[in-house]
Amino acid sequence: MIAEFLSRLRFLFMRRKPADLRGDIDEELAFHIEQSVAQHVAAGVSPEEARRLAILEFGGVERMREQCHEQRPGWWLSTVAQDARYALRGFRRNPLFAFTVLATLTLGIGATTAVFSVVDRILFRPLPYAHGDRLVSVGLTAPIIPEEFMLGGSYYVWRDSQKPFEAFTSEIGVNPCDLTERNPARLSCAGVEASFLPALGIAPVLGRNFSLDEDRPGGPRAALISYGLWQSHYARDPAIVNRLIDLDGNQVRVIGVLPRDFEMPTLEAADILIPEALDEAAQRRADPGRVMYAFARLKPGITAQQAQVMLGPLLDYSLRLVPPAFRKEVHSRVRSIRDRQVHDLRLAAWILLGAVLAVLLIACANVASLLMARAAARRRELAVRSVLGASRGRLIRQILTETLLLALAGAVAGCILAALLLRVFIAIAPEGVPFLLKAHLDLRVVLFTVLISLACGALFGILPALERPSTSALAARSPGSLVHAWLRRTLVAGQIAMSMVLLTGAALLVRSFRNLEEQNMGMQTRGVVAAHIELPHYRYDTQQKQMDFFLQAESALRRLPGAESVSLSDSLPPGGRHGDQIFNIMAVAGRPRPEGTSAGTGGMVAWRWVTPQYFTALSIPIVRGRNFTEADRTGSDCLIILSSLLASRLFPSEDAVGHRIQLVPDGPWCGVAGVAANVRNAGLNGADEPEYYRLRRSAPADWNWYAALTVKTSLSPAAVEPWVRAQIGAIDPTLPVDIETLSQNVSTLAARPRFETALLSFFAFCGLLMAVIGLYGVISFIATQRTQEIGVRMALGASRADILRLIAGEGARLIAFGGLAGLAAAFALSHFLRSLLFNVDAHDPASFIAVPILLAVVALAATLIPARAATKVEPVAALRYE
């Protein structure tokens, strides 16, 4: 066995030159024939007749030569190499074909792989928790907080008496915290219940989970640190466990390290987990109690919907604690953690995936169409090779080698393109798209891609190859395969239809995006720089200290050259978090307060703390009354300015200025100083909320840890930024400051629609390009095939215009057919886009008229070029064609 193997190896490597081998075989066969002749002569046949008989008996010399060759080990390998060489020669002879196929495959595969890598985490990949599909987020929903939440007054009752879950746990949110040892850092700390990690099915990679004792108020201070922090701050030192670190000025014991892929179910970044350490007894009595977020593990066989129904009695319990006005608008919600994480993103992800799959389909159709055209053009070549003795298997292998070669090259180029595209996505992607930064091309996605391209190549490569090369193909006037022609036309019509759908979608998004960009914000963002400052809680532990810092910072910034106005507020429009309260708890002096459950909440009202120059800094006009003055700041009056929207709701028939309003029950009564114009305050595409501005007086009670310092400057914001940093650094050098221009802030809000629009437009463009290439290919192929017919027609008196009509008519039929089908599909599908659209109807007439016109023009141009070429044919030349 081994000897045999070695012998094979020897022959494989010590290969003699083929010519040598052929000489050997020839000489051996010649000897054989001579012996045969000699035998015949000996039997009394004449020498000539003997030679004839010998050769006759011997049979096909060439065939036997081949057979002797085929015995050689590694013969297969050499034919594959031969096929590949032949294929490459063919590509060089027809570079346009090879390039088009390659480019199409690259684009299709690259785009699909990149998008798939992005949406994979959003739509498909399992969560990094044990049996993550059974984990749910549980809680109440109310207009005030967009995501479901729990309250201390209800949580413990729910936890102890719920039925549908086998584990029920909570966290109280992520807050900034400061590491105050030799290498200080601003981190984020999440407070979690002791049962949090076990409920999610997570075990620390090092150390242990919190004990119940540590999760009590006044218990031993403990912390679990993230893998990232362990790596960056402690150089992965295993001795970190049980070490004491300084967190917000306290000595805290590190009890463990979280796994590398740990993430909070809310996807908030958390460097450190600490016990929430709530006083359970106090919370049970409290109303409403601490805001918490609850997560639970469903018992096997119970769905989230069933769980929500089973929680009914507990919801009733919680509703009793809710103010009557609220009750109608509080519900319970149980949904999977993935739903909570991706909510509105899921739709966008599906749309992108759909778009890119459409591009892939168009690409595959293009490749198929090109391969079929090539096969039709090569029918004669194949027939000749078949007659010369090539076996059918050999021909199929040859064609498959060619297509697989193209497919593999396309896969490689596609992967490279995908890697580039992914970088572009990450570069232009908005913040807050979960997982995007972690998206990468993994083996699974690459494998998926390569398989698709191989399947594409094999399927469409083998289709033409399977057709038996007939001798009729040897004759010059072969009518080509009718089935192929029909299939190619269908493919092209399909491509046009799909491009139509993509283009319409893109057009709708582009229009929506323009509406978004050009809308009136109600304020001026130019030349406004905002510095967001969150004071460290442990150093600025009194409101006096907080106010002192911010007032000092304000007067420092006032001294900056070019600073026209400087204001302090606790939030900035149009996005960002701002204060929210219920409309119906506001009371106007001299009117009865709305009471009872029938009134409901009246919706939400936004509000902000501002200083007088807020309105000048953002150029928000005061339409009634007056602005706050500097003198107001030192006064003791509570003053507010209403937005026009709120003023018209509170005072539909009278002037708001001068009225007094109690904002919350038992709160202070505030005088309305004026009415400001409306400003967009619910993001770029949300419905505006009524709003009021409360004067931030120079009294400690009006201050907290956070403020945004807004500077309106006549200089370039880029020049002002370092000055702002320097001024704040002079007051507190260790303070992290986040500086951006207001235009940047607004542009960030538009980032997601921009991202979606850019991507869909890109895919639509690719799809259109490929469909046009496909159309061009088919029409020019048809024109070439009918060259002779054209010659006959012209000889019989057809004018060039007739010929043009004949060929272009073919293209026009395909365009009309595909276009109409696409238009119908686009009309049916566009409502999926509705939630992504801003001020554009899903059946926007402008888009649905412009896109077909554009497509028709481009597609007709693609048919006219080859059609015109067909009319240039000289009748005589055409008749002699082939």
Binding site: E28, L29, H32, S36, M64, C68
Partner: protein
Amino acid sequence: MTPPSTDLLQGTLDLLILQTLAPGPMHGWAVAQRIQQVSRDVLQIGQGSLYPALHRLEYKGWIRSDWGASENNRRAKYYSLTRAGKKQLEAELKTWDRLSSAIGLVLAGGGRIPEAQS
């Protein structure tokens, strides 16, 4: 005129060639003649299968080829068994014996023996 040809069982051609070459080196023509002669014209090896088989056996390392002078002093390619070839021959002979005796048993025990055709 031509004797009825008997289709060779798959794989038996290798055995026949190895057995024919066992006494000593021989060229392709002689191998064919010898097999025909010894089998009293029952087995006629076509050139179409003889030469590919010789090449195959050579690639397998069971036979070796050397150029030498023929009886009438022409250059001819002589094939001879290698050590591996001798072992292979022994093994194949054993297999053949086992197989043919087994077939003999089946035919003998099968009841009626059909009349011989030739």
